[in-house]
Symmetry: C2
Subunit: 106 residues, 2 copies
């Protein structure tokens, strides 16, 4: 059985956002994301074919959804369900600490 | 979009283990489990039709798998993938604090 720790093995330097599959099957993919001040490029919107249920386990982030005036602030334990093709971007993540996300794509 | 916090809304008393669906579709179900000293009854084994990927987000727990000499200790951030029909039981959870699990059934 695959085991591990989602907070482990984060390198000291994180020049690029880290993406790592923790589980991958036809129906579902579970991914760890580690951000450290990373944000989506200006003008970039995620427009995903799959639904995404995502939770911040550590750190802080801010998501923006296309057409919504207010951004969504996420801290430890906060989760949100993002239906497929809901355009969104990561507007901000904490530059001073790791933000660890757990994303379930389905 | 459904939002919430996985650490929120835990009652002061938890006489029974808490189970709550955070996401439920045909292909996948995401569940929050809150244990406070709960364990599987003597002689009881989970024998599930679906695979389960589970992570402990807070607290501590010990799983036992049928036929394995050593139990599996889980603390914050530890995850394990449990294939369908892998007989297992919760042998122990921390009686002094909440153990919050996030389970993905697929």
């Amino acid at each position: 059985m695959n085991t591990g720790n989602i907070f482990a093995d984060v390198p000291g330097q994180v020049p690029d956002e880290l993406f790592e599959d923790l589980l991958k099957t036809g129906a579902v993919r579970v991914e760890r994301i580690v951000s450290r001040g990373h944000r989506s490029p200006d003008g970039f919107w995620y427009d995903q074919d799959r639904n995404e249920w995502v939770i911040v386990l550590k750190g802080r982030a801010r998501l923006r959804f296309d057409g919504q005036a207010d951004a969504v602030e996420l801290g430890a334990g906060d989760y949100i369900n993002i239906p497929a093709h809901t355009r969104h971007r990561v507007e901000w993540t904490d530059p001073a600490a790791d933000t660890v996300w757990l994303a379930v794509y389905y």
